[in-house]
């Protein structure tokens, strides 16, 4: 009996998985072959993915358009033949194959244990994988104190960015006096370039719910919230389905499984503010206010949501918990490095060949992640740097590629672990422009409460804009460094405290790029529009006249059907010719 499984996470759907699914449904109607959906297995770069499961063999096909779906149906499902050209990964009798074999083989999947395997909308499939057995163990074989000790012993540290030891955090909230306490799951995932939490919520929502219910037992709370960003409609939908199913099975609600524990979870949708990922701002947002961070202390374990003791953890942190309870703290602590135990999920994106999700033991080197799992740089270009930690993080140059990725070593480079977004940059990326990009982001997202964060970042942004326009002043670098120090010192929350990091880290490793912009008015990466020249490639130009018609200053000349020419003296470098050309004939350098 064969079963077809279509990857229907946001990545699959945006690559067209729905049409392939519809085609397979039509074809499989009336046949013995089963058809179901799953979340994201992490190979986003090969979406849409379709897997065929049969006795002793699993085959995942990549880039399955409806046309390919029909052919796979005819040749593989009906004909029993492997369509080897399209196989992304396969397992047959313990033997792995397929072009992306390495992508999965180099991983250690704990958080992603069910992602891309089970149907996220079926609680039964989660239970078949051992789901909710950890909860039973916690409810009937362990005391809350033992649960906390177990999590402490596992060495699990928060995956939301700061890396605070989870067991310790739970013990604070548990010890805090009061009968009403809250449990919060931070699913705001605002770092641009990070999509681990989205994938987990879309692919295995019950793992997060189970982790939360276990935490509720350990801490002693009856009310839970999941704060999910509104840009993740599919995650919210699947969470709602999962919540209803868990209530139906008695895992949520009053007197859970007859244990006496009462606990339920509500979903709160974010409304588009990055700072609401910061936990105290997140509480303000759940309370219906402007999402402004609050002064600490008091810490959330004392006074959090609605001024009551609150424990907040990240999605991935909770998703680790059931595995730790089931397999034991020692098994978890055996993975990773001395001070960073277990695994971490990374979102590989940017100029990397295999962009997707990968979960690896802590301490794997950047090179192994980017070159090994990620398959190197797209289009065979040169690996320049990797951006980690989003707007609070920094850029690590390729020369430090042997750095182990963990909570000790990444901060030494000036970047941070962050939530796990890894944006890979190649030689076409300008480092000043990247710093400007992040400063623009934090400038926009600053809630406005602290003067240095609000105005200081604006002054830094202005300096960076000057530099990328080729109008930088010699003293701008000192100005940036001076402002950076002050903003770090005088900001209330980590948004401001870390906002200068992208500038400081690029200044540390790529200072010469700043200097070339300022002194030579040149962008070495050929990326800053104001500092490059536009040309037309005579080999590609078809003389369609579109660029000439789009040029606002009439700098392009040429007859229809003949190669066009850009008058660089007239050109204002608006880039319209480049974006309008249908033949990639406009070059900038």
């Amino acid at each position: 009996m064969k079963k077809l499984v279509v990857g229907m996470g946001t990545c699959g759907l945006s690559a067209g998985a729905q049409a392939s699914y519809d085609r397979l449904r039509e074809l499989s109607q009336g046949s013995e072959c089963g058809l179901s959906i799953t979340g994201c297995i992490g190979m986003c770069f090969r979406e849409p993915l379709v897997e065929i499961r049969e006795e002793g063999r699993r085959v995942i096909y990549g880039e399955v358009t409806p046309e390919r779906a029909s052919e796979i149906w005819n040749r593989h499902v009906l004909g029993g033949e492997l369509v080897s050209d399209w196989v992304a990964a396969s397992w047959s009798g313990g033997e792995a194959g397929g072009s992306e074999r390495d992508f999965l083989a180099l991983q250690k999947r704990i958080v992603l244990r069910n992602c891309g395997i089970i149907d996220p909308e079926s609680i039964g499939e989660y239970e078949e994988q051992g789901g909710y057995s950890a909860l039973r163990k916690v409810l009937f074989d362990m005391t809350p104190a033992e649960v906390i000790e177990e999590v402490k012993a596992s060495g699990l540290r928060g995956r939301g960015g700061a890396g605070f030891p989870t067991g310790l955090k739970w013990s604070f909230a548990a010890a805090s006096p009061g009968t009403v306490k809250y449990l919060v799951c931070n699913a705001d995932e605002g770092d641009p370039g990070a999509f681990m939490d989205r994938s987990v919520l879309e692919s295995d929502p019950h793992a997060v719910l189970e982790g939360m219910i276990i935490a509720a037992r350990a801490i002693g709370t009856g009310h839970g919230y999941i704060y999910c960003r509104a840009e993740y409609p599919l995650a919210i939908r699947r969470l709602e389905t999962a919540l209803a199913a868990a209530r139906g099975r008695g895992y949520l609600g009053g007197d859970i499984l007859g244990s006496g524990l009462s606990f339920d979870i509500r979903i709160k949708q974010g409304a588009g503010a990055f700072v609401c990922g910061e936990e105290t701002a997140l509480f303000a947002s759940i309370e219906g206010e402007r999402g402004m961070p609050r002064i600490r202390p008091p810490f959330p374990a004392e006074k959090g949501l609605w001024q009551k003791p609150t424990n907040n953890n990240n999605v991935e942190t909770y998703a680790n918990v059931p595995w730790i309870i089931t397999n034991g703290a020692a098994a978890y602590a055996a993975i990773g490095t001395e001070n960073s135990r277990g695994t971490k999920v990374f979102a590989l994106a940017g100029r990397v060949a295999r962009g997707g999700l990968a979960e690896v033991p802590m301490g794997m080197s950047i090179n192994d992640l980017v070159m090994g799992i990620g398959g190197g740089i797209k289009g065979g270009r040169t690996f320049k740097a990797v951006q980690m930690g989003g707007p609070s993080g920094g850029c690590i140059p390729a020369s430090l590629g042997e750095t182990p990725v963990d909570f000790e070593n990444i901060p030494k480079t000036g970047a941070i672990m962050g939530s796990g977004g890894m944006v890979v940059l190649d030689d076409t990326t300008c480092m000043v422009e990247i710093a400007r990009f992040f400063l623009e982001f934090t400038q926009n997202e600053s809630c406005g409460k602290c003067t240095f964060c609000r105005i200081g970042t604006l002054r830094m942004l202005e300096a960076l804009e000057r530099i990328t326009r080729g109008e930088g002043r010699a003293e701008d670098i000192t100005l940036l460094e001076d402002l950076a120090g002050k903003i770090k010192e005088a900001s209330l929350c980590a948004l401001g405290q870390t906002a200068p990091n992208p500038v400081l880290s690029t200044l540390r490793y790529f200072r010469n790029e700043y200097e070339t912009h300022i002194l030579e008015h040149r962008c070495p990466a050929g990326s800053c529009l104001a500092l490059v020249e536009f040309r037309i490639d005579p080999g590609k130009c078809t003389g369609c006249t579109l660029c000439a018609r789009n040029c606002p200053v009439a700098a392009i000349s040429g007859e229809r059907g003949k190669t066009h020419l850009i008058d660089t003296a007239k050109c204002v470098k608006c880039g319209r010719c480049l974006s309008s050309c249908n033949f990639s004939a406009v070059l900038k350098a």
């Binding site: 946001t10 990545c11 759907l13 945006s14 690559a15 986003c44 770069f45 979406e47 605002g190 770092d191 641009p192 370039g193 990070a194 999509f195 989205r198 509104a230 840009e231 409609p233 709602e240 979903i267 709160k268 949708q269 974010g270 409304a271 588009g272 503010a273 990055f274 947002s285 759940i286 309370e287 219906g288 206010e289 402007r290 999402g291 609605w306 979102a347 994106a349 940017g350 100029r351 962009g355 997707g356 951006q387 989003g390 977004g421 944006v423 940059l425 990326t429 990247i434 990009f437 992040f438 809630c447 789009n550 608006c574 880039g575 319209r576 480049l578 974006s579 309008s580 050309c581 249908n582």
Partner: protein
């Protein structure tokens, strides 16, 4: 989450933290948050209009102006940015003759940007309504816009699909 705005208002029992869900359902209902919705919410909840306005302007999801039938959300997150999302924005601005934040004269499109749609591996990415499009180029964006425009002309009565972030 699927209740209508009026039902939510009517059901309001003074529970804390309801303001943002109320605003979200108002925006879903009207397509934006009209002045009168602020008045209704203020009257029912007792929260001053000025405070409600303060919350609306804090969150980028909320809009005080009507939006086009199709909201285009171009991702300008890190991954998309280094994959030339700026060129997509330029192409759309050029194709539709509007700036970011603007709405076309025929009320068909509103152009916005967003920092990361979580599909970074398909960068550069944009959403039109609730459909995500990945691996874009300026040329493919223009083609998609023309397609949407043609389909809209063929089926003018079909109600617009709400954009994802607006749809609770």
């Amino acid at each position: 989450m699927e209740e209508t705005f009026t039902y939510r208002l009517w059901r309001y029992d003074g529970a804390q933290g309801e303001l943002i869900p109320l605003l979200q359902s108002a925006q879903e209902h009207f397509g934006y948050i009209p002045r009168r919705a602020i008045k209704y919410i203020s009257a029912v909840t007792g929260i001053p209009e000025a405070a409600i306005y303060g919350v609306i302007t804090f969150y980028s999801q909320f809009r005080l102006q009507p939006m086009g039938r199709f909201v285009i959300r171009v991702c300008d997150g890190t991954a998309c940015h280094v994959s030339s999302s700026r060129m997509l924005i330029d192409a759309i601005q050029d194709e539709l003759s509007i700036e970011v934040g603007g709405t076309t004269a025929d009320g068909l499109f509103t152009l916005t940007t967003v920092a990361c749609l979580g599909c970074c591996s398909l960068a550069p990415v944009m959403m039109i309504g609730d459909e995500t499009h990945g691996r874009l180029t300026p040329a493919s964006v223009r083609r998609i816009l023309k397609d949407v425009r043609r389909k809209a002309a063929e089926a003018p009565s079909e109600s617009p699909k709400p954009a994802c972030g607006v749809n609770p």
